[in-house]
Symmetry: C2
Subunit: 525 residues, 2 copies
């Protein structure tokens, strides 16, 4: 490589070639943020919208009537072989549009469509149009939250919106800390990291920044949660080097809530064994049955034993928007930290997770000064940095769509959608109860309806099979889970436009598929 | 709560209210995926495009000429106070559009614009219009990668595209594993988690799933990397419970490359001490100087010592697209894992990270069966699951924009953009060398130019101040870093449309700001 000082000619590489001086020739309408770029994006999206609508009609139902192998084959065909050259003439003005619409069609025609009333398996919401458009704006500007000079307004906006959400959770917005995350799993992991370092970095122990292995020698760090807590608690424990079996699951009552007495007994046992309780994870809305732990009673115990209380409200946090239902989260304001997912009961496209802490200082273990991102003299000069709130470095401005949604709908507007989904769940549960061949696991705590086709001793097999039949026929996306070792089906109702007529038809489809599978099973014997 | 079996009336909550049966009244054009939804998104984005273009003109430069406090105040004003009700009449057809355009303006007018030629501080690229439009399509469909029935085509597409990228990295596409991540930090964390569990879960030790504290008793797990490796290596070590000081940094040569001999000596020392080398992290493209470790030599040592080799190619991985430059990554195919960021030299909106492993089985420590996501009988029936590849659960289909970009530009098209940026870096470095008051730290290895205003003993202070002056005047976003304890400035050139005339003007602005700050400093004495 030779650089000729002051000159414009550069020779480099073994072949000594140079690239065209005017690289913009490579970039027809190319950059989203350059002049003409936003308009190019809007035009591309208008074309993609047509492809999306055509694909929805072609699909007809909530998912494609194809096997996974058939879907994979169709995707392979649409993608074509890997290629070094772009398809066709790279200067053709419609090249980008052609590729985009073809692949949009392939993705959409083989999508599981959360906006379809019969796609109701998971905590997988149909996002609001305004939130999706806002998300696209975030992509155009491509701000990154790891330094102020990559996201001046977005930094201020995240700080502001985090304060608002903290206020909604009952925290003092001026004192609270928080960050936008990729979802409940990252929120749980981050909270447990903070709790671990809070618990193990006391004056009498090695700071955990220097390793769990030495810090915890002789005393075992433990995490407590209800038996129906999300699996990411165990996964986080493993990631954090505590081990999955550092998690002790506490007995739950018939409403799937941690028993406070059992929690207290577990803490006493740990104290007697010399173990270190790192955190209690309460759940506000278990994934399957929507159970909400008794947050007030648990907060009381956490304070008494001096243990960090984290509330996983990834699902139930949406109740904060509902004037009618937010009382179910009483006691939340006494937790050290709480995770909410606005891509569940908040109708955001993924990702829109939020982790809040009662005090900003609780994020201290993550604080870090990096020469190229937040040098001390820049911070002293007033340049704020959010680097110390996130496990990530580069980080998309997911806060923007949340901000737009909060202003376009207001918290009450979101609350009405929450109420509608819960109302639908209750009405649908009543339909299950009234159905001669369906069985309700329990009355809904949130917006899930857990039930099954009653096939006696064959129930497990019949329900697993009927679910796959509905998938393969493209007729319904119904969830499944296991409760007390048995297979149950689940409707997770997150579409506020779905009506009880829709769910009644869905239940009829489940029952018919159950009849078919039960008959087939009997015949095969 | 009362459920009346078979009935449509539901009474619940203390107030006994019911919500309107027709929730769709709450949802004017609301759901992005419902009929009319994609068109509503496109219309909203068309309005937002106007706001984006107007804001860019109003801003005029690469960032707002405002202090952080002024930006925060403007954002507060644009947001207005938190509100329960939406702004104005919630049935007004243009409510969403009004809110979106107002907040888009506020975000954009106060953005740091990576599409502006004088915004050149960070690995913060201006994304391609086609990638942004594809990202919006992913938002509309809102597929989630944690189960097949939330993402049928997207699951197949990620599997396919991961195979293609693995092939580009020199791995066997059929054998390789991989996953789309939120970026280099998550890729490094995931790779080090896999390496940790690979190293510590051998037959003679406790499986790490059961905790680092016990697994590592008596033998200290260690990670090795070059002195200029990314700070996320240390951060990952802390997160994983190994402690930041589990990371041993190895001496680098004058080209910022780990010295193979020093690496070997460190490994010998660890062996003698009874420590466990968990991983070697080589860097292909350090954040500041773009240094690329000697991957072939390091891979040889890693194999000899039986240690996991992870390559952090978050920055340099883009060289794989360039026919001319990919040779700089020779030896990459012999690493156990490699991380690439297509939101750097790949022109994707954040996030578009990728972690690849040479063999799919290397992901085993993350595998997990979850009743509600991937029960065994569904997997046996042919329903694939990507859950065991990611630290996240809910996960956006970020692969879609990557797939569209690969087909619209071809790898050669991306390679030309890489070449253009590198050419620009070399030409710009020549301009620095020719400038009487600027000093070049080193000739560019990739697309960064590290330099400073030469103010003798005052250089540190003058360069830090001149950078903030340029920020505050809205004239340029120039990076800074610290090398051998001294402050240097940095241009990270990721905009292929930027010309050497642009960077020459930028350098002139830096020199002028340096003159001003130096004079002010002298006057203050």
């Amino acid at each position: 490589m030779t650089i000729t000082p002051g000159g414009d000619t550069v020779t480099w590489g073994a072949d000594g070639l140079t690239v065209p001086a005017d690289a913009s020739a490579l970039l027809p309408d190319a950059l989203a943020g350059a002049p003409g770029g936003p308009e190019a994006v809007a035009a591309l999206l208008a074309a993609a919208a047509d492809a999306l609508s055509a694909a929805r009609e072609e699909r007809g139902g909530p998912l494609p009537a194809r096997t996974p192998q058939e879907v994979a084959e169709a995707v392979r065909t649409a993608l074509g072989p890997p290629t070094a050259a772009p398809e066709g003439d790279r200067n053709a003005p419609d090249l980008a549009e052609r590729v985009l619409t073809r692949l949009t069609h392939a993705l959409a025609v083989h999508a599981a469509d959360p906006a379809h009333p019969h796609c109701a398996a998971h905590l997988h919401c149909p996002p609001l149009a305004v939130a999706v458009a806002a998300d696209a704006v975030a992509s155009v500007l491509n701000q990154s939250m790891d330094s102020w000079d990559q996201a001046p307004a977005a930094t201020a906006m995240e700080t502001r919106v985090i304060g608002e959400l903290a206020g909604l959770a009952g925290y003092d917005p001026e004192a609270a800390g928080g960050v936008v995350t990729s979802g409940g799993t990252e929120s749980n992991l981050t909270a447990l990291l903070l709790a671990r370092d809070h618990a193990l970095a006391g004056p009498e122990r090695d700071p955990v920044r220097h390793g769990v292995a030495r810090a915890a020698a002789g005393a075992r760090p433990r995490i407590l949660c209800g038996a129906a807590a999300h699996f990411s608690v165990q996964r986080s424990a493993a990631l954090l080097g505590l081990g999955e079996d550092a998690v002790e699951t506490v007995d739950v009552d018939s409403r799937h809530r941690m028993r406070p007495r059992a929690l207290r007994e577990a803490l006493d046992r740990m104290r007697a064994d010399g173990d270190i309780p790192v955190a209690i994870v309460a759940t506000a809305g278990t994934t399957d049955l929507g159970g909400i732990d008794s947050l007030g009673a648990i907060a009381h115990i956490a304070r008494e034993y001096g243990v960090w209380l984290h509330v996983d409200a990834a699902y139930g946090g949406g109740l904060l928007f509902s004037r009618r239902l937010r009382g179910l989260l009483a006691g939340l304001d006494r937790a050290h930290s709480v995770g909410l997912d606005l891509h569940k009961l908040g109708w955001q496209p993924v990702a829109a997770g939020v982790l809040l802490t009662r005090e900003r200082a609780l994020f201290a273990p993550l604080s870090r000064s990096v020469d190229y991102l937040n040098p001390a003299d820049d911070e002293e000069a007033g340049y704020p940095s959010l680097l110390g709130y996130s496990l990530r470095t580069t980080r998309r401005a997911d806060v923007f769509k949340i901000a737009v949604t909060l202003r376009a709908l207001g918290t009450d507007g979101l609350g009405r959608l929450v109420d509608a989904c819960r109302d639908l769940a209750l009405r649908t549960a009543a339909k299950v109860t009234a159905h001669p061949r369906l069985q309700l696991a329990d009355s809904p705590s949130l917006t899930t309806v857990v039930f099954r086709y009653d096939a006696g001793a064959d129930s497990d097999e019949v329900n697993a099979r009927l679910r796959r039949r509905l998938l393969q026929e493209g007729r319904a996306v119904v969830g499944r889970t296991r409760i007390n070792g048995r297979v149950w089906l689940k409707l997770t109702l997150l579409n506020p436009a779905t009506t009880v007529e829709d769910t009644t038809a869905l239940l009829a489809g489940v029952a018919a598929a159950g009849d078919t599978e039960l008959a087939a099973l009997k015949e095969s014997r």
